[in-house]
């Protein structure tokens, strides 16, 4: 049975379309994750206020808070990418229907777009509420995109692992945070540089390295995780 590239692509696209259709039917991830991000954002903003942090510390503290909000938003929403397949007992059907790599690419594309949507709504709101001016908007955007990519890719792989274990929500945090910590430190570093307006190219290129390594190894590992 030989599969051509176009059938592989259409499988991946079908998985991607199915994920979004399910998502738009329930709006579970969008509603809960966005509300979660918004609530933490409000909490941070109320606790600190626009003047809560002095102007010197702002550029160091606020980028870190932004990434913490995004990290916990990802941890709240992304485990479901695979979790709901096991919950609804659709995993076996999915195993029969799609090749593992196409399935993973479809799921990854869904995670990426979902997380991009979360970032697109959270980050501007954060900047506005905290009244944080960004000196280098291009670098800031690059840090968000690259950090979001790594966060979504690593979370999707860990979600695939956790989906087959019990105690899912706590286990996801335990397994994904050590994988994500290097990424977060790099992303925080890049965002700080963007807010401060100087450099950051180093951290950005390391982020690209992390994203590429994570994506490649995910594609290699996923068949072993998925197929019993």
């Amino acid at each position: 049975m030989s599969r051509t590239a176009s059938s592989w692509l259409s499988e991946a696209a079908a998985v991607f379309a199915k994920e979004w259709r399910c998502e738009l039917r329930t709006r579970y991830a969008l509603n809960t994750v966005l509300l979660f991000a918004f609530t933490t954002l409000v909490m941070v903003s109320v606790a600190l206020g626009p003047m809560g942090v002095d102007s010197v510390a702002r550029a160091t503290v606020l980028p870190m808070l932004l990434w913490l909000i995004l990290l916990f938003a990802a941890a709240a929403g992304l485990p479901r990418v695979f979790g709901h397949e096991e919950e609804k007992h659709t995993a076996t059907a999915l195993r029969l229907a799609a090749t593992p790599s196409a399935l993973f690419c479809g799921k990854l594309a869904f995670s990426l777009t979902l997380f991009a949507a979360i970032e697109a709504l959270t980050a501007p709101l954060f900047l506005a509420m905290m009244q944080l001016p960004v000196a280098a908007p291009g670098h800031f955007l690059a840090a968000l995109v690259l950090g979001g990519w790594g966060l979504a890719a690593a979370s999707t792989l860990v979600a695939a692992i956790v989906g087959q274990a019990r105690g899912q929500s706590t286990l996801f945090a335990v397994l994904s945070f050590p994988v994500l910590l290097p990424l977060l430190l790099l992303a925080i570093e890049a965002t700080r540089a963007a807010v401060g307006g100087g450099g950051g190219a180093d951290s950005l290129s390391r982020l690209v390295l992390y994203d590429a390594a994570m994506t490649v190894v995910s594609l290699m590992l996923f068949p072993a995780i998925w197929n019993p």
Partner: protein, 223 residues
Amino acid sequence: MRKIAPWLLWIWIIGVIWAAFFYAPLAEGFVGQSSRILFFHVPMAWVSFVAFLAAGAWSIRFLAGGRRVAHDHAASAAVELGLLFCVLATVTGALWARVMWGAFWNWDPRQTSIVLAMIFYAAYLALRSAVEEPETRRRLAAAYAVLGLVVAPFLFFVLPRLTFSLHPDTVVNLRGRIEMESRMRQVLAASSLAFTVLFFWIHRIQVRLKARAERAPLGRTRP
């Protein structure tokens, strides 16, 4: 031979301990006798690095080479022992930091990376205990250990360059040379050899214990 070998190892280790205190000179620029901890701290860190690397290698063999249970036992035993040596390296490092830097802990990049490595492999063990079905457990754990091979270079090579570190040069430093007095270098090499052999010896025993626990009809199966 099998009976004599452990005794040879013990004699070797006693020799290393003696040499660390009476043969090797003190390094310049260190408080008191504190530089002697080098002969124990560095091999511990080295062994934990070897252990985690070996766990990754055995996990790859498990996934790619027919899913043999022995490879999974080897990987999990390596992670357990690696964690033990990682804790020892962290504690000896913290003691030395208290003497040299005045505080047990100050999030020096090296301290950050060793703690993150420790959290990662502790999570590996948490994953093993969370999956009940043995075959699923082996498969998922192996995949997570391979993921560790991707995360580790970022912990050990990328992160320490983000900020300034007070940690003395690692044995082979950025200039790519070993800059150490020759007697110190001899003792360090002897000690590293002793610790590495010790690791593989305990590892063999652990793997045999795991295999036996699995065969035992009513025995507990260890995760």
